[in-house]
Assembly symmetry: C2
Homo-oligomer: 718 residues x 2
């Protein structure tokens, strides 16, 4: 047994759960940077202990830090068992009272056993490390963290704990010329990966290790879903992805413990099992039907196609932002994590064998849930837009929810901002949901400058969710006197026409014309924003002349479209997006055929590009545009240049990776970049909406001087 220095030095009792401090305070930049992200939450088999992983920042090393916490359910004490630049796949080891996890304690990411006494024992250490991340020569395995070296990339225990399945990653080998589509795929990524292969092994209780299968890293089932293991008594069934075209056709095999050989399993068309929700009767639970007619149904096992209908529902089962489902051993009920799309929050749904369904939750969200094997009792995170996360115990039958531990005393000490939930219908007749965050010092009757923050469906009851607010410091905007509007796009399942538009975008089946598809998706999104903004202006809450808009990724598309289709906004911030730009055609030929009807050089398609592509419409923008990038995306540069050519204020900032050979990730992982990008956004909106030159670093002051020149030039325009 070893106890790595890093783990030992940092392990120890965490502060006891404090009472809510009496001195309440307002948000600071440091508070936003300190918001913890909850990762794995795991219960011990007996339900006496929970472990959970919190991701925070290591400011000294300017990188993410993962801490594995142990919570004793009985006495509510919380201690840190280990810290590492990365911890993942925490499991309770079957048959033992210890935990296993992938973590980096200085020897690359390996598989460790961790006891409740913080003792750390290596289980599998593979010295042949492979670099993974957004870096050159790295396998492009996952994002949103720094490049890491991996010895072990995946593992799973058999339910009896006697067999261990694990995988290593082998990177390298002589590079060969590549052709055609492979060149296009390569060119879509800034960073190049060496040829990489995964090796799966099984180690049995006698310590004997056998190779099971080798797969290229392009096999996404083997790479990201752990090869979908299903354990039998004498065998392991596993799945791999059979083709490299991105079609998730899964082939399944059986590996026999005794003979150490593999046999092929029949194709049952069942595809990927990951995320499947099993109903109380053992069938698959799904939501079927269109729009208002959606029902929760269970398709019973067997081939007679029998279905149980649990009635109308508005839930999405096991959304990736809060996944999971647990079936009572006696089949009395299934409890499933659900998203309530119209309410923009997460809860649990108990589906009884008797056909009754019961929603379990709070006014805000239950996320990161996990239940005991008997499904009677579980642990979730209770959080909301204005509610810092805390661990709660959930009783499946009574639905009773009790607090176990707060996860961030620091944020409990902040007086919550006033947040109001909204639903509205836009001029096209589509419904959307969102939130109004009020300025800290709100006085009814006064008009406030406002900033819209948009990112498809991520505006929901989660605490400072990084996938919504990115580098937009929502809380500081509100502290500084802005109204902040968190806006979701119209949800897709509300109308067959909208559902078909999304399908046509994905499948480019040509069933929706480019003009109609543009209208239903992007112009619809812009109309949603326009409707809310005009409502609130009419109500006297916001000031029409001081409106800004921000969004990253899908949100950046909406920002770029909105400012080139409306004249609502005076300033905008568009984050790390370049989709819709002609420059991205080569990587999105199918989707662009749906949106535009063909490549930008086609004279008929050209008119469709002119109708929507932001860089082709830059001269119509009325907003000063800041673009913040994690990579120098060609289409983003084109939009920037087109704005400049039209003499519209435009700033383009690329945030660096750790070295010249790595990149910042789409959701920034480098704390100093996050801070600088948030500062830049604050300064940008203050400058254009409030006419205020914000104090800041010398670098920021230099920027502001540049903006002053832009503003002077803009104001001289005829």
């Amino acid at each position: 047994m070893i106890a790595p220095a890093a783990a030992l030095a940092l392990a120890g009792a965490a502060p006891a759960i404090p009472a809510v401090p009496s001195v309440q305070r307002t948000w600071t930049m440091a508070d936003i940077l300190a918001v913890p992200e909850v990762k794995d939450v795991v219960l011990s088999a007996d339900g006496r202990f929970a472990v959970y992983v919190l991701r925070t920042n290591n400011e000294a090393e300017d990188r993410p830090e993962f801490a594995l916490h142990l919570l004793s359910i009985g006495d509510r004490t919380d201690r840190i068992l280990a810290t590492s630049p990365w911890i993942d796949r925490v499991r309770a080891i079957p048959g033992r009272s210890t935990w296993s996890a992938l973590a980096d304690f200085g020897r690359g990411v390996q598989l460790y056993e961790i006891g409740n006494d913080a003792a750390v024992t290596p289980v599998i250490v593979n010295e042949a490390l492979a670099l993974v991340g957004s870096a050159d020569g790295a396998e492009y395995g996952f994002t949103e963290t720094l490049p890491l070296r991996f010895g072990v990339i995946s593992y799973d225990w058999s339910p009896d704990g006697r067999q261990l399945l694990y995988a290593t990653l082998e990177a390298g080998g002589k590079l060969k010329p590549i052709h055609g589509e492979a060149v296009t795929r390569l060119s879509a990524r800034l960073r190049r990966a060496p040829p990489s292969f995964m090796h799966y092994y099984v180690r049995n209780e006698r310590g004997e290790t056998s190779p099971v299968v080798m797969r290229p890293a392009s096999d996404r089932v083997a790479r990201f879903l752990g090869a979908l293991p299903v354990w039998g008594k004498d065998y392991l069934d596993y799945g791999v992805q059979g083709d490299d075209k991105g079609i998730p056709s899964v082939h399944r095999y059986r590996w026999h413990f005794a003979t150490r050989t593999t046999t092929t399993l029949p194709e049952d068309g069942s595809g990927i099992f990951w995320g499947r929700v099993t109903g109380p009767k053992g069938g698959e639970l799904t939501v079927t039907g269109a729009s208002a007619g959606r029902h929760l149904v269970e398709r019973l096992p067997g081939s007679d196609g029998a279905v149980i209908d649990y009635g109308p529902t508005g839930v999405i089962l096991s959304d990736p932002r809060s996944p999971g489902s647990w079936r009572a051993a006696n089949g009395a009920f299934t409890i499933a994590a659900v998203r309530l799309a119209e309410e923009a929050r997460y809860a649990l749904l108990r589906i009884g064998r008797d056909g009754k369904t019961t929603l379990i939750g709070t006014d805000e969200s239950l996320t990161h849930c996990t239940f005991r094997a008997d499904a009677l009792e579980g642990v979730c995170v209770h959080e909301g837009l204005a509610r810092p996360p805390r661990l709660v115990r959930v009783e499946a039958l009574s639905g009773r929810i009790t607090t176990l531990a707060t996860l961030s005393p620091r944020h409990d000490a902040i007086t919550p901002l006033r947040v109001e939930k909204r639903q509205w219908t836009n001029r096209f007749g589509y419904k959307a949901s969102g939130f109004i965050v009020y300025p800290r010092e709100y006085h009814k009757g006064q008009r406030y400058p406002a900033i819209v923050v948009t990112h498809d469906s991520d505006a929901d009851e989660r605490f400072a969710a990084p996938d919504l607010q990115w580098n937009y410091p929502v809380q500081l905007f509100a502290e500084r006197g802005y109204v902040v509007l968190l806006v979701n796009e119209p949800w897709g399942r509300q109308s067959p026409a909208l559902e078909q538009a999304w399908r046509s975008l994905n499948d480019c089946d040509g069933r929706v014309s480019p003009a109609e598809l543009q209208r239903l998706i992007w112009l619809n999104g812009a109309e949603t924003i326009r409707s809310l903004v005009e409502d609130l202006a009419r109500q006297g809450l916001i000031d029409r002349d001081r409106l800004g808009i921000a969004g990253y990724s899908a949100g950046s598309q909406l920002v770029n479209v909105t400012v080139t289709q409306t004249s609502l906004f005076r300033a905008a911030s568009s984050g790390d997006g370049a989709f819709l730009e002609p420059a991205a055609h080569r990587y999105n030929r199918c989707g662009y055929r749906a949106i535009y009807g063909g490549p930008p050089g086609d004279p008929v398609a050209f008119e469709q590009y002119r109708a929507l592509a932001p860089s082709y419409r830059a001269a119509r923008s009325s907003a000063a545009m800041l673009q913040q990038l994690a990579e120098p995306r060609a289409g983003a540069i084109d939009f920037h240049q087109a704005l400049e050519a039209a003499h519209i204020p435009a700033e383009l900032t690329l945030y660096p990776g750790e070295t010249a050979a790595s990149d910042e990730t789409h959701i920034f992982h480098i704390p100093s970049n996050r801070r600088a990008a948030m500062e830049e956004n604050l300064a940008w909106f203050d400058f254009w909406l409030l006419d205020r030159a914000r104090e800041g670093s010398p670098a920021l002051r230099e920027r502001i001087e540049r903006w002053q020149l832009m503003k002077a030039r803009w104001q001289r325009q005829p």
Copy 2:
């Protein structure tokens, strides 16, 4: 003194110059790969020794190899003093009978002294190495070789040998966010460089080292021109580039040996001194006047503007492909390396104080010339398209040329191919030059398949010049029965209209309309090819139905334009080019304004793109198109995809770098890539022009199977 193992192990007597072998033979692939490239040629002060650097391939390590040869002029013995992955800037050390050079003997590139006995002594070793080349985290310093680590990047001796100027490169430091134009510049390069700075030092005869100046690596004068040192008795004058906008405005400074301080020199508007040719009277020699009225003149020093006219001339002075000029100590004459543009060859021009000019040369070329300090006697390389290189002695007064040493006995053993020089005038009235390489077994009256190889002005009398023939195995094409046509574009200086078109392209001054500029440059080039091909078809030499075209870089533009504007060719190979494509607009806004009138989204410019941009005209191509790339250039991919969409046979091959973190260079440097790319070209033209499926590696056979599918689909087209 050290004698590095690498140098010692490989030093030794080179084979004595053999008599031409009696058994003559034909070209092989190995012969092309073994063609030596001559780099530096240097004479000792007393003229008794010459050293020269030959670049060949190290097949075992699959990389370039540089060998420093010593030739004793008296007895004509030749020996190798040292080998290294890179040798550059060879100089005779003033006041000593030894040589200095930058070379990598296992400690990175450092400055060494090398004796005629092959003893190697380090002069400057800087252990802080910086990576340079086409690799991630490398300064993008020079191309066409593998990434190398540099301790010393530049040096120069004072004429008395007492002072040594040298420079180091410092790479690294914390990356900062970058903005606007800097993001665009970064995005134009696949590989990222860390912030890099050069430090220049002077070391005096007492061994004292003083820092002189620090410059960012973006200062191209400091980076590539050694800071333009001009040595005085007590001082060193040097130049740096003052701005980062690519404008070569040079600021000059004086560094004083005694005080070790710097003073500013007055701006004299003289700009860069590099490549300046000094006439017999000490003035600057230039060629002035337009087209046929060009004269060689010397502007006398002083401010009265007096000029001596040496009369009409057709030469280009000190062309970068064969640079240099030497002035006799007594001012009796200057001898200058010249290019004869219309004859597509290189020679020497003696310009006498008496006003007489005399051309010195052979029917082929004199290149890589160097002369003694008195300019009376020099050494050149004598080479031609069908003439393997040899070192010759040139006497300046008599013009006598005598052979000193053959540089490649291997190629002397090959029976030369028949090469014929041509000049012709195209339908637009523009003249061009080129060469016809006849098939080995040529029978008059028979028609041959033909391949045009085009690359602006590089078709000239040099032996298998890699900047012309790239990965197109010209000699093997001829051995296999093709006529090969090496074609230059119309030379720019033949008409004021053409000169103005090139100026407008560079300055985008709008003086030539996009349509006229397209016509004068690219359509003019295509017409040049058409004229030659039609002439030769009329003469019965070539078969109209079996024509191919190949070219890389500028040549790839001409290939892509020619196949989308004419229907002459059935197959084409386009090398590592993407200029003219809409995708390159963002890096070439000035030039594209000249060519197209604006960005691709502009409705007026759109018509100009439709008139010329290859990917917008792909459906008009009649040629099966192979594109070979060193980097996955976006525009090249667009053209490939557009051809595919139009069901025209198209192959796109990317050749890899040494690792996933480095690239093949524009002119390939990895021998196995060069071999594979030449094999691919042979197979490609054989397949489409001769209907022959060439034997080859399993990888190549797999390619040919793909081409067979393309051919079948193409033939089924209506």
